[in-house]
């Protein structure tokens, strides 16, 4: 049978099963190479009924369009919950039928546990925990009143290709890179500064950003900060201001944040800050 007409469930099933002959497959490929609303309708309806291996390919391709969001990275608590369920279901020999919906509370606890706060005691910031990316309760308010709420988060990109959610204070390998996300409550001038334990701070990003979540990018592509050549504690600080953040202001703030940081430093007036710190292991 040669397929010259529209796709059918039968043809589709045979292709998935590897039962379509090469000549049938070529005819099908030829037909599907052009726009065909009818075939798309069939595929759409099939997709609503359930996913098959081709759906997995589609989703793999679509997931490659953009870098992973920091907010979508996994965390220890969720992984532990998965492990507990695996152990529990292995003991019982069957899947859990229904589980209590307690994740919002757990999520808040997880967020609180993972809150990234600068280790400098001088920076007395407060934040409310939030659960998931859709929470509207988080204010992120720090610093002076009317400052822009800002949150800095990061992913650790391992040299071997692994991606992990960045955790404040953890050791990272020298060959790793950090991908930052900045969340703002309103539009602001933002600077990202690396403040080493010793030596001069380095301003490596200055940009006007809109409210919401932004992955640090270069030329429209997500970018990462390489830790190569660095060692020891490295503090990364996001400085945000609703007004213009000029060179002098950034330099003054960066110096004020360099150890030993001074509480209530004049240079930080009117600025919002968030910081993360990692310990770069030797090569």
């Amino acid at each position: 049978m040669i397929v010259r007409a529209h796709l059918t469930q039968e043809t589709y099933r045979r292709l998935l099963e590897g039962a379509l002959s090469p000549s049938e497959a070529r005819a099908l490929a030829e037909h599907l190479a052009s726009d065909c609303p009818r075939c798309e309708e069939l595929l759409e309806a099939g997709g609503r009924a359930g996913a098959d291996p081709l759906d997995g390919r589609v989703d793999r391709a679509l997931s490659g369009l953009t870098a992973a969001r920091v907010a979508d990275a996994g965390d220890d608590l969720e992984f532990e919950r998965i492990q507990r369920r695996l152990a529990s279901e292995a003991r019982r020999g069957e899947p859990e039928a229904a589980r209590p919906r307690h994740r919002r509370a757990w999520g808040a606890a997880a967020a609180a546990a993972l809150v990234l706060v600068a280790s400098a005691g001088a920076l007395k910031w407060a934040r409310a925990p939030r659960s998931g990316s859709e929470s509207a309760s988080w204010t992120g308010e720090k610093g002076r009143a009317r400052a822009v709420p800002v949150r800095l988060r990061f992913l650790v990109l391992d040299p071997a290709g692994g991606i992990e959610k960045g955790v404040e204070g953890e050791a990272v390998r020298a060959g790793a890179r950090l991908q930052f996300e900045i969340e703002l409550g309103s539009a602001a001038d933002v600077a990202l500064v690396r403040v080493p334990a010793a030596g001069a701070p380095e301003v490596f990003l200055r940009e006007r950003l809109g409210s919401g979540l932004t992955t640090v990018s270069v030329g429209g592509r997500p970018a990462a900060y390489p830790l190569e050549g660095l060692a020891g504690a490295q503090r990364f600080v996001a400085i945000a201001s609703p007004d213009t953040l000029d060179e002098r202001g950034i330099d003054a703030a960066a110096q004020a944040l360099a150890p030993p940081a001074r509480p209530d430093a004049a240079a930080l007036l009117g600025l919002s800050l968030d910081a993360v710190e990692v310990d770069v292991a030797g090569p």
């Binding site: 595929l43 997995g56 290709g161």
Partner: protein, 207 residues
């Protein structure tokens, strides 16, 4: 932008061989292998779940956990460990559809999607186009979309990637079902083109 950033580089990603190694480790009972798979694929699983506007944040969390639990339980059935990614995403989509069906039916018990069990058991016999080729194909499809609501929705969800389907509905001021429909229509376009590519490769296999 006030000044160009310094020292920043595009990210690198793990590949299929990394997955194969992690699957092998996980099958040996190595928890590190499971963790590697979880870390590598959790963002894509989350993205799939967030693409269903009918699911709330708790549902999304449930789908993510269910997906990894199902996958790790069924890992021994995966014949091609290098294809762990697409296999996992198939499970994720089915978990999301299943959750949606359960939600639509209220608290009534509904049958699991019968195709889910099939997807777990059936080997993936499709020819495998290069992932880069697939990605390029998707980019081309998006570029060819006429300007309008569908393209805007696709851009916000798949290209920018920062919003869930629910958030996009709120931002664009349209119903959740409209967003779901636009994303489904777009996926069907991508599926048709990938199917054509798969069929073309099958046609080249002999004769």
């Amino acid at each position: 932008m006030l000044s160009p950033p310094q020292r920043l580089e595009p990210p690198r990603e793990g590949g299929e061989q990394d997955d194969a190694a992690a699957v092998a480790a996980a099958l040996r009972g190595d928890r590190v292998g499971q963790r590697a798979l979880y870390d590598r694929h959790r963002p894509a699983v989350a993205r799939i779940a967030r693409g269903f506007a009918g699911l709330d944040a708790d549902d999304v969390d449930d789908v993510i956990q269910d997906t990894f639990v199902r996958a790790f339980q069924s890992l021994a059935k995966l014949e091609q460990p290098a294809r762990f990614g697409p296999w996992l995403l198939t499970i994720a989509r089915n978990r999301a559809l299943s959750r949606l069906a359960r939600r639509r039916a209220g608290d009534q018990l509904v049958e699991e999607l019968s195709r889910e069990a099939t997807a777990l058991l059936e080997p993936d016999r499709l020819p495998d186009p290069d992932a880069e080729v697939e990605l390029e194909l998707v980019r081309r499809i998006i570029a060819e979309l006429p300007e309008g609501a569908e393209k805007e929705t696709v851009r916000l969800f798949y290209v920018e990637g920062g919003l869930s389907a629910r958030e996009i509905a709120a931002r664009l001021g349209v119903g959740k079902s409209a967003i779901t429909m636009r994303l489904e229509r777009f996926r069907a376009k991508v599926k048709r083109r990938l199917l054509a590519e798969v069929a073309r490769l099958r046609g080249e296999e002999s004769g």
